[in-house]
Symmetry: C2
Subunit: 236 residues, 2 copies
């Protein structure tokens, strides 16, 4: 049975072990063992309020953060304040894994809490200890790093090569798959979508209007009806 390491260790009251067992880093490892792994190294749980910046772009960071509660976005910002949201992540998730063992530990993105979040913080030394003694965690961590490389490569390709119209068409098609209906409801505001697509909000609104006027979709606020799914798929 799991025991807390001390009365004031907020992690050990088992509340996060369930969550952690769903995180890729600990995939294939049972809860008791996860608890043991964490208990044996220095760790702490940190809390963040909605809107708070969990990791500041360009900062040096020598710990791994594992999001155990809440939702975050990873973002880049240029000097004029233009924002690009790389992705949205929900607990459980490993945050900024690439900075832990890079030659220069500067983090190229910001991580922003979207609601109340908690994250487990493990120092680089502790991670070294975990990786050295748990081959399964090591394999998982390498897979996380590798997947991140693929994710970034694909994100780059999409930003560089896809038109705004094509990004939006693809987004509606995704909603269509998830919601299993030609009548989809956008889960994000135009502002949020435009930050994901890396464009200005009125540009997105214009593209939506054009697609509406051309009869591809019927757009009314967050409600979109797909009128011509084939041309949506052909959109490029």
């Amino acid at each position: 049975m799991l025991q807390p390491c001390s009365n004031n260790c907020s992690f050990c009251f088992v509340q996060y072990t369930n969550v952690m067992s769903n995180e890729n880093l600990f995939r294939g490892i049972d809860k008791e063992e996860i608890g043991e792994i964490i208990r044996n190294v220095h760790h702490q749980v940190r809390s963040y309020n909605a809107g708070e910046i969990i990791i500041h772009e360009e900062e040096e960071y020598d710990s791994l953060l594992i999001l155990v509660q809440g939702t975050v976005t990873t973002e880049m910002m240029n000097p004029d304040g233009q924002v690009l949201v790389l992705e949205q992540l929900e607990a459980p998730a490993t945050l900024a894994p690439g900075s832990l063992f890079a030659s220069h530990p500067q983090i190229p993105v910001s991580v922003v809490a979207q609601n109340n979040c908690r994250a487990l913080l493990i120092s680089r030394n502790s991670m070294n200890q975990i990786l050295a003694t748990n081959p399964k965690v090591l394999t998982n961590f390498m897979e996380i790093l590798s997947n991140r490389i693929q994710f970034l490569s694909n994100r780059l390709k999409s930003l560089q090569f896809q038109s705004l119209r094509s990004k939006f068409a693809q987004h509606i098609l995704q909603m269509n798959t998830i919601q299993k209906s030609l009548n989809v409801t956008l889960q994000k505001t135009q502002q949020e979508l435009s930050e994901l697509f890396g464009v200005a909000r009125p540009s997105l609104a214009r593209v939506i209007r054009e697609m509406h006027n051309e009869g591809l979709i019927h757009a009314q606020g967050k409600h979109i009806t797909i009128l011509n799914i084939e041309s949506l798929r052909r959109t490029k």
Copy 2:
């Protein structure tokens, strides 16, 4: 003393051990030991001619390639044939390290030989074996993965946020640092530069002309004289 593993193993004739000892993957490991590591796993050396595609975008790939001779570029291409060169790499270099242990081993970039190249091929199983028995190689490999994540993040940021003018200004300033003169010579054609910047060639030519006309630089073919280094630095 190093012995070849067989008479037809082109690696073992020690010709590449020097090169390998400079590759990050084997950093901190001496040549004899590198030879031992390679000899103990399946491996082969492949040759490629200039222009040949070493790794095809979107293909599945379950081996690691270590470039031991020549220069390659990693590229992305969109359906219309527009090219973005991610980077140019010279031997020694580890190619597409992110695909080896990703959940889905699809490679998001192409790797193209710029001249005659040779690469050492090690299968995933062999790499597993190497990583399991050589902690130093393992650490190095994780560092390579982490650095790649940072590289891609920074590349993304630059492509998304920097104007063409700013990219070119930065490039000239880099040349200035390397060549230690206000009179720099471009090492690449405009075509090559435009593929690095992800734009069309005439767009780059136009920006160069504008900067010339504004008196920032004097541009004559590949020869650029920096006339106002301060405004180059301020260019955004």
